[in-house]
């Protein structure tokens, strides 16, 4: 203990409750590489996932161009199926799920009033694992890997990197879920917890039990390929279930959480029935449990049909809860609200398409109907909700609001693009029995025209993503210009601290008193 000659100066009134100081982190690149601050890690998750979104979008456009005509042969032999699978993996496992994990990593501690995330070093490790394995996954395709690849070592690399991606996402989800369960501020009961955090609890919990199933299947595929030299039957289906019915509604869980936070704040009216909001999230979660469809006979099961049909209910209920809140309040038609409404509508459309798709006599399974439905839920509902979250929480994330005009443009491009992309696929699947992912098909004039519309829709949606990323980059240059509560009336803790928040989030421990 040190001794001094003079008495320390008495603290002034302003100094009475000083902000907790942050551990000193290295500046510059070293700081980013070694950080365990949930805000930095969350921003890295989000930025990386947006970069992978661009990859997925470009690949989607290549697929659309190839399908303009049967046997168009724009791509080399064997490349089409590789691009097809990488497009799906990039969209779901490298963009959508990591984006929401990044959003959770950044926002959940703020929403629950905690100065940090649970297992901060685990969360940072999960991010680096995701980045490295995502890059390895792309590299394996370059080396002629992927599930349809012909170079054995590249296929092995593909499977191992996919295992690492899934493991990293699971650790990221574990960190966020534990934060919701254990680090809430005094008075913040689970029922009072904001809806985004609720969706992280449900969606993250589902990731924790579904990603290991994906890993187990990948281990099986890897062993058979590595030792027997051939992939087992249905290898791709063993991976693609993760973005097919019913697991596809996992995107709806996160989307519902975003929408149920955005709309009440912008309508200046709390949810009248928060339990209804939680129920919607929970029901979507239950209906998205999908590892069991790995059994080939499962799609003939009554449970599969029932879950597909029932998915319409939470989508309708979500619209009802949001509509009730908007009607009771005075909503401002700003970009996050427009993006949210688009997301809710496309979730309903996707759920309706999914309900029709499971009706066996219609024989839509395996046709482009599936692709149309997946695009509606994943790109439409999930993607628009991601952009709504970016616009809504931009003041916290980047310290500056995103351009409202750019937000309207993104809503128009992604909403319109998704409808144009998915609509023709639904029609081709229903009326022409066009097989999903086929490069050779019965190319009637109608089919070719609709495929052209679909490709144009994909291009519009990709343009929307580029505009969104541009708006984020532009906001990053205006860092520090946002108010603590720019929307006025934000009811959760993140709006009580500055934008962007200080190192330890809150100057004083927040507490719910009412």
């Amino acid at each position: 203990m040190a001794m001094t000659e003079t008495r320390p100066a008495a603290a002034s009134a302003e100094d009475a409750a000083p902000a907790p100081a942050a551990p000193v982190e290295p500046a510059g690149l070293a700081g980013w590489l070694t950080t365990s601050d949930h805000k930095r890690v969350g921003r890295m998750w989000i930025a990386t996932s947006l970069a992978f979104l661009l990859v997925g979008g470009v690949l989607g456009e290549l697929l659309g161009a190839e399908r303009l005509d049967s046997g168009a042969d724009l791509l080399k032999d064997g490349t089409f199926p590789q691009i097809y699978t990488l497009h799906a993996e990039a969209a779901v496992l490298l963009f959508l799920v990591p984006f929401f994990i990044g959003l959770a990593t950044y926002l959940v501690p703020l929403q629950v009033g905690s100065p940090e995330i649970a297992f901060p070093r685990g969360s940072a490790t999960a991010y680096w694992g995701y980045l490295v394995s995502g890059l390895l996954l792309c590299a394996s395709y370059v080396a002629d890997g992927g599930i349809t690849g012909t170079t054995s070592t590249a296929v092995d690399l593909y499977l191992l990197s996919l295992i690492l991606v899934a493991g990293s996402l699971a650790i990221g989800a574990l960190s966020a879920v534990t934060t919701v369960l254990t680090m809430r501020a005094p008075g913040l009961t689970l029922l009072r917890t904001p809806m985004l955090s609720w969706s992280v609890l449900v969606g993250g919990g589902l990731l924790l039990i579904q990603l290991p199933v994906l890993v187990a299947r990948l281990i099986g595929i890897f062993l058979e390929h590595h030792l027997a030299g051939a992939l087992p039957d249905g290898a791709y289906d063993g991976i693609a279930w993760f973005w097919s019915q019913p697991t596809v509604y996992l995107a709806g869980v996160f989307a519902a959480g975003v929408l149920l936070d955005v709309v009440p704040t912008l309508a200046a009216r709390p949810l009248r029935f928060p339990v209804a909001g939680i129920s919607v999230i929970g029901l979507l979660g239950i209906l998205s449990i999908g590892g069991w469809v790995l059994d080939p006979a499962a799609t003939d099961d009554l449970l599969y049909v029932g879950m597909g049909l029932a998915a319409v209910l939470p989508a309708l209920a979500l619209l009802g809860v949001l509509g009730d809140t908007a009607r009771a309040g005075s909503p401002r038609l700003v970009a996050p609200l427009v993006l949210s409404l688009g997301s809710a509508l496309l979730l309903l459309a996707g759920a309706a398409a999914g309900a029709v798709g499971v009706i066996e006599p219609l024989e839509l399974a395996g046709t482009t109907w599936d692709a149309g439905q997946q695009h509606l839920v994943l790109m439409g509902a999930g993607g628009l909700a991601a952009f709504a979250a970016l616009w809504f929480w931009a003041p916290k994330l980047w310290g500056a609001a995103l351009s409202d005009k750019a937000g309207y443009l993104v809503a128009l491009l992604v909403l319109g693009g998704t409808v144009l992309l998915a609509g023709p696929d639904l029609f081709n699947g229903a009326s022409e029995d066009l097989p999903r992912g086929a490069i050779e098909f019965d190319a009637t004039d109608t089919t070719k025209a609709l495929n052209g519309v679909s490709a144009a829709g994909g291009a519009l949606a990709a343009l929307g993503a580029i505009v969104a990323i541009g708006a984020v980059v532009a906001a990053g240059r205006r860092r520090g210009t946002a108010d603590a509560d720019p929307w006025g009336g934000g009811a959760s803790f993140e709006w009580t601290t500055s934008s962007p928040p200080p190192a330890h989030n809150f100057d004083e421990t927040p507490e719910v008193t009412a």
């Binding site: 001794m3 254990t182 501020a185 187990a216 299947r217 030792l227």
Partner: protein, 209 residues
């Protein structure tokens, strides 16, 4: 001359932030969630095993394989040893709660030792069977399940070694035993999953009984 006491600040760093209020069993809840994920992983691997077995039996192929002799005695001893470690793990928590450090050290050492014996026993059983990975669908799936489980056991041993060193450092007390409770949850999980695997892979395929 008056003296005053100042905060100890040897290298000029700012003070650490205040402890997080309302923090409730973070490590314990995280461990429970990790166990849930582990259950899903091992459950899905077992699902793949049974699926392959159904396919083989439908095609009238031998399962687990012709002339394959399971080392049942060695397997029994290996898994019973793992089961015993559950009791020693619980003993560690009881000892900490009684603040009996000598017993805590003994319980930790016993648990880690039994865990290492399990890993050793499994490698012995694999060797005795003489099956190579990929020899048959049974071999492939058996190794997928048991090697994954053995890796989980090794991870649990590492966790116990870390917690054990902290016990040696005197970090835990009857009022601060959450990390030990978390380590015990993980240990009970690896033991329970090991017994399920023993039942599914060895007992059902012609084990003792």
């Amino acid at each position: 001359m008056s003296t005053a006491v100042a905060a100890y600040d040897p290298i000029g760093i700012e003070p650490a932030p205040a402890p997080i209020p309302g923090r409730r069993n973070v490590l314990l809840v995280g461990s429970l969630l990790a166990c849930a994920a582990g259950t899903a992983l091992l459950g899905a691997l077992l699902g793949g095993y049974f699926s392959a077995r159904d396919v083989a039996r439908a095609a009238n192929q031998p399962w687990p394989g012709e002339n394959l002799v399971l080392p049942n005695v060695a397997l029994f001893v290996t898994y019973i040893g793992l089961l015993l470690s559950s009791f020693t793990a619980q003993w560690a928590l009881a000892a900490i709660k009684l603040d009996d450090r000598r017993q805590a050290y003994l319980a930790f050492a016993s648990t880690i030792g039994l865990g290492l014996l399990f890993v050793n026993g499994m490698t012995f059983c694999w060797t005795r069977m003489g099956l190579a990975v990929g020899d048959s669908p049974f071999a492939t799936h058996m190794y997928a399940v048991t090697v994954t489980h053995a890796l989980v056991v090794i991870a649990a041993i590492v966790a116990w070694v870390v917690v054990g060193f902290r016990v040696l450092g005197g970090q835990f007390s009857p009022r601060n035993s959450e990390p030990i409770a978390a380590a015990i949850v993980v240990w009970h999980f690896v033991v329970a999953s090991g017994l399920v695997i023993w039942w599914c892979l060895w007992f059902l395929e012609g084990g003792p009984g």
